[in-house]
C-alpha cells in the first residue's frame, strides 16, 4: 500500500533532474534526453493520479504524452542534424547568429 505521495515525490525528483539537465548541459543530445526525462516524470504523475482516482484516464493521457514526445524527439533530432551540418558542433552556445 504505497501512498500516492511517494509516487509524486519520485516524479518531482525526476522532473527536477530533467530540468537541471536542460540548463546545465552543453550538448544538444543530452539536452534532448533531459527533456525526455521530464516527460517521463510527468507520465508517472499522470498514471499515479489516474490510479488513485480509480479510472484509466491517467493511462490514456500517458499515451498522448508519449506520442508527442516521440514526435518531438524526431523533429528535434532532425534539427540537431541540420544544425550539426552547419557548425560541426553540438554546443548550443555555438548557434548565436540571431543575436542582436
Amino acid at each position: 500500500m504505497i501512498p500516492l505521495g511517494h509516487y509524486l515525490v519520485v516524479s518531482a525528483i525526476l522532473f527536477a533532474i530533467g530540468t537541471a539537465g536542460v540548463f546545465l548541459r552543453r550538448n544538444l543530445i543530452t539536452i534532448l534526453l533531459s527533456i525526455e526525462i521530464m516527460l517521463n516524470a510527468v507520465n508517472l504523475t499522470f498514471v499515479a493520479f489516474g490510479r488513485a482516482q480509480g479510472n484509466v484516464d491517467g493511462q490514456i493521457i500517458t499515451f498522448f504524452v508519449m506520442t508527442v514526445a516521440a514526435a518531438e524527439a524526431a523533429v528535434g533530432l532532425a534539427i540537431v542534424i541540420a544544425l550539426f551540418r552547419h557548425r560541426e558542433s553540438l554546443n548550443p552556445d555555438a548557434f548565436t547568429s540571431l543575436k542582436w
Binding site: F23, P92, D93, F95, T96, S97, L98, K99, W100
Partner: protein, 688 residues
C-alpha cells in the same frame, strides 16, 4: 462691349505669355501695342455711348456672371462705366498704348524671350488696371487692386537677376500688402454695415445719412480704405516702395508708377466720394497726409541725384496733391490733376528713359549735361512737361494744380494751402534743377563721378545687365564715347511728342469759370460723385452740388473774386521756382555745393530720405525678423516640433536598444526565460 476693354490686353497677355518666346520681337511688341490701341478704340466708343445719355444717367454696365453666392451674399462680376471710369479708361488705354509703343524701342536690347515676357506683364497689368477701374463693387476692384500689385512686383523685378531689382520688387509687394490688409478690413466693415459691396448701392444707402461727427463706422471704414490707398498710391507712411521701384525699366515707371497704378488710390476715393463725404474726420486725415506727403517728398526730390528718383519723389509729391484735393472734398479737381499728371509725368519718365537710353545706362545727373543740342526731341518734350508740372500758366498742370489749391483755400484750409504753395515752389525748383543739370551746361558724362561721401546708397543703373556683379556704380566702364549720342528713335519720339502735346492741351477741358471756361471735365465727372438714387429718376440738372462734391464750377461762380488772385499767386510761385533753379543750376552751380557744405546735416538728411527706410527697418522689419527667426523658427519649429518628432524617434531608438538585449541568440537563455515563466505561473496557481 465693356468687357472687351479689359479683354484685349488679357488676350495680348495670353498670347505673349504662352508663345512669346517663339515670336520675333516685332510680333510680340506689335501685338501688345495693338491690343492696347484696340482697347483704347473700344474705350472711346463706350465713352461716346455714354456721352449720348443724359448727364445724370450716364452709366452703362455689363454683368458677366455671378461670381459668388453664399447664402445672402451675392457678388456679380459687373463692369460699370460712368463718367469717372470713362476718364480712367481713356487715360489707361491711351497713355498705355503710347508707352507700349515706346517700349518696343526702349527694350530693344532684350532677347526675344525677355522681350515677350515684358510685354506679357505689361498687358496683364493693363488688364488688371482696367478691371480695377471698371469694377462695380469692392471685390472686383480689389481683384484689380491686387492684380496691379502683382504686375508691379513682376515688372519692378523684371531684371530679377540683379539683386537690387529683386529686392525692390519684394519691397513693393510687401508694403502694398500692408495697405491691402487695411483695405480688406475696410471692405469687410462696409459689408457688415451695408450688406452689399456694390458702389452705387453703398452710395445710395449713405447719401441720406448725416455726416458723422465723431469716429463712427463710416470713419473707421474709410480710414482703413485710405490706409490701403496710401500703400497703393505711395503716401506717408507706405510710400517707401516707390523710389526703389525705379529699379524697373523706365517705361514701367512711366506707366505704373506715374500714370496708372499709383492713381488707383485716388480713383478709389473718388469712386466712394459719397462715403468719404460722410466721414469728415477721415477727410481731414486724407487732406493732411496728402499735403504733408507732397511737401515731404518735394524736399527729398530737391537733392536726389538719380534722374528717375527725382521723378519718383515728384510723383509721390503730386499724388499728395491729388489726395489733398480728395481730402477737402474737391473730388473732381483731384481726378483732373490725376489726368493731367498722367500726361506730363509719363512724358517726363519717357524722356528720362530716352536720356538713359542715349547715354547707355547712365542715370546720375551729375554725369549728364549739355545734351540739349544732341537730343533735341527729348529736350523739348522734357522741357514742355517740366513747364507743365511746375504749373506755368497755359499748360495743363497749371489748371489742375490751381484748382486744387483754390478749392483747398475756398474750404478754409489755409495751412494746407500754404503747404501746397510751398510744394509748388519746390516742384518748380527741383524739376528745373533736373532740366538744367541734365540738358544744359557742359557735358560731363565722360568724367568720373565726384566724391560724395554723404550718400549712403550709390545711384543705381538701370542697364539690363544680367551679371550679378554690376551693383556698384561703374561710371566709366560702360558709358559709350560721347560723340555717339543719338536722340530717341522713332517709336520713342512719337510717344514723347504726343505726351508733350497732351501736357499742353489736356488741361483745357477743365478751364475754370473764373477764366471764362466751363470746366467741362468737372461737370462731366460730377454725377460720379453723387449718389444716384436707384428708384427715382434724377432730374436733368447738370450741377447737383449735394453733400457730396464741390466742383470748380460751383466754386468759381461764387468766389471768382478769390480765385483770380490765387491763380496769380501760384503762377508767380511757379515762375519764381524756375528762376531760382535757373539762377543756381544754370548760372552759379557752386551755390548749390556751398549750400550743401554749409548745412551738411540737413543735406545728408534729405539725401538719405529722412532715413525713413532705416527707421522702418529698425522698428518694424528687424523685430519681425527676430521674432520669426529666433522665436518662431528656432524656438518653436526646430526645438519643439522637430524636437517632438525627433524625440519620438530617439525614444523608440533608446527603448529598442534596451529591449534587443533579450535577443541574445543563446538558446539556453531562452530556455532560462521559459523556466522563469514556469516558476511564476506555478507560484501564482499555488498561491490561489
Amino acid at each position: 462691349m465693356i468687357a472687351l476693354i479689359p479683354l484685349f490686353p488679357l488676350l495680348g497677355f495670353a498670347i505673349n505669355a504662352s508663345m512669346g518666346r517663339r515670336l520675333p520681337k516685332a510680333v510680340s511688341g506689335g501685338l501688345a501695342s495693338l491690343v492696347m490701341v484696340a482697347s483704347f478704340v473700344v474705350s472711346v466708343m463706350v465713352v461716346w455711348q455714354i456721352a449720348d445719355l443724359a448727364p445724370t444717367q450716364r452709366v452703362i454696365e455689363q454683368t458677366l456672371y455671378t461670381w459668388i453666392t453664399s447664402g445672402d451674399f451675392k457678388i456679380d462680376l459687373t463692369l460699370r462705366v460712368d463718367p469717372l471710369a470713362s476718364v480712367m479708361i481713356l487715360v489707361i488705354t491711351g497713355i498705355g498704348s503710347l508707352i507700349h509703343i515706346y517700349s518696343t524701342a526702349y527694350m530693344h536690347e532684350e532677347v526675344d524671350r525677355e522681350f515677350a515676357r515684358y510685354f506679357s506683364y505689361l498687358n496683364l497689368f493693363a488688364f488688371f488696371m482696367l478691371v480695377l477701374v471698371l469694377g462695380a463693387s469692392f471685390l472686383v476692384l480689389f481683384v484689380g487692386w491686387e492684380g496691379v500689385g502683382l504686375c508691379s512686383y513682376l515688372l519692378i523685378g523684371f531684371w530679377f537677376e540683379k539683386r537690387s531689382a529683386a529686392d525692390a520688387g519684394k519691397k513693393a509687394f510687401v508694403v502694398n500688402r500692408i495697405g491691402d490688409y487695411a483695405f480688406i478690413l475696410g471692405t469687410l466693415l462696409l459689408f457688415v454695415r451695408f450688406g452689399t459691396l456694390d458702389f452705387q448701392r453703398i452710395a445710395s444707402a449713405t447719401a441720406p445719412l448725416a455726416p458723422e461727427s465723431m469716429f463712427g463706422t463710416l470713419s473707421v471704414a474709410t480710414l482703413l480704405l485710405f490706409i490701403g490707398a496710401t500703400g497703393k498710391s505711395a503716401q506717408i507712411p507706405l510710400y517707401v516702395w516707390l523710389p526703389d521701384a525705379m529699379e524697373g525699366p523706365t517705361p514701367v515707371s512711366a506707366l505704373i508708377h506715374a500714370a496708372t497704378m499709383v492713381t488707383a488710390g485716388v480713383y478709389m476715393i473718388g469712386r466712394n466720394a459719397v462715403l468719404f463725404s460722410h466721414a469728415p474726420e477721415t477727410m481731414m486725415v486724407v487732406a493732411t497726409i496728402g499735403a504733408a506727403t507732397a511737401l515731404f517728398a518735394g524736399t527729398i526730390g530737391l537733392v536726389q541725384n538719380d534722374i528717375k528718383r527725382v521723378l519718383a519723389y515728384s510723383t509721390v509729391s503730386q499724388l499728395g496733391y491729388m489726395f489733398l484735393a480728395m481730402g477737402v472734398g474737391a473730388f473732381g479737381a483731384g481726378i483732373f490733376h490725376l489726368y493731367t499728371h498722367a500726361f506730363f509725368k509719363a512724358c517726363l519718365f519717357l524722356g528720362s528713359g530716352a536720356v538713359i537710353h542715349a547715354l547707355h545706362g547712365e542715370q546720375d545727373v551729375r554725369n549728364m549735361g549739355g545734351l540739349k543740342a544732341a537730343l533735341p526731341t527729348t529736350y523739348w518734350t522734357f522741357l514742355i512737361a517740366s513747364l507743365a508740372i511746375a504749373g506755368v500758366p497755359g499748360l495743363a498742370g497749371f489748371f489742375s494744380k490751381d484748382e486744387i489749391l483754390f478749392e483747398t483755400f475756398a474750404h478754409g484750409h489755409t495751412i494746407l494751402w500754404t503747404i501746397g504753395i510751398l510744394t509748388s515752389l519746390l516742384t518748380a525748383t527741383y524739376m528745373f534743377r533736373l532740366v538744367f543739370l541734365t540738358f544744359h551746361g557742359t557735358r560731363r558724362h565722360d568724367a568720373p563721378a565726384p566724391q560724395h561721401p554723404e550718400e549712403e546708397e550709390p545711384t543705381a543703373h538701370g542697364a539690363p545687365s544680367h551679371t550679378a556683379a554690376s551693383d556698384a556704380p561703374s561710371h566709366d566702364s560702360h558709358v559709350a564715347p560721347s560723340h555717339h549720342l543719338h536722340d530717341a528713335p522713332a517709336a520713342m519720339a512719337f510717344a514723347l511728342v504726343v505726351l508733350a502735346i497732351g501736357s499742353v492741351f489736356a488741361g483745357y477741358i477743365g478751364i475754370p469759370g473764373a477764366l471764362g471756361g466751363h470746366n467741362a471735365l468737372g461737370s462731366w465727372l460730377e454725377p460720379s460723385f453723387t449718389a444716384r438714387s436707384v428708384t427715382t429718376l434724377a432730374d436733368a440738372q447738370v450741377a447737383e452740388p449735394g453733400e457730396a462734391s464741390g466742383t470748380g464750377e460751383a466754386g468759381g461762380e461764387v468766389n471768382s473774386g478769390v480765385e483770380l488772385p490765387l491763380m496769380l499767386v501760384s503762377s508767380v510761385v511757379a515762375i519764381a521756382g524756375i528762376a531760382l533753379a535757373a539762377f543756381i543750376w544754370l548760372k552759379r552751380r557752386e551755390i548749390a555745393d556751398k549750400a550743401a557744405a554749409t548745412f551738411p546735416g540737413l543735406y545728408r538728411l534729405l539725401l538719405n530720405k529722412y532715413y525713413v527706410d532705416e527707421i522702418y527697418d529698425a522698428t518694424v522689419v528687424q523685430p519681425i525678423r527676430i521674432v520669426s527667426q529666433e522665436g518662431l523658427w528656432r524656438g518653436i519649429d526646430v526645438n519643439i516640433i522637430d524636437g517632438a518628432v525627433n524625440g519620438t524617434a530617439s525614444i523608440v531608438d533608446g527603448s529598442s536598444s534596451l529591449l534587443r538585449r533579450l535577443q541574445s541568440g543563446s538558446v539556453r537563455t531562452y530556455a532560462g526565460s521559459l523556466f522563469i515563466g514556469v516558476v511564476l505561473i506555478l507560484g501564482y496557481y499555488l498561491w490561489r
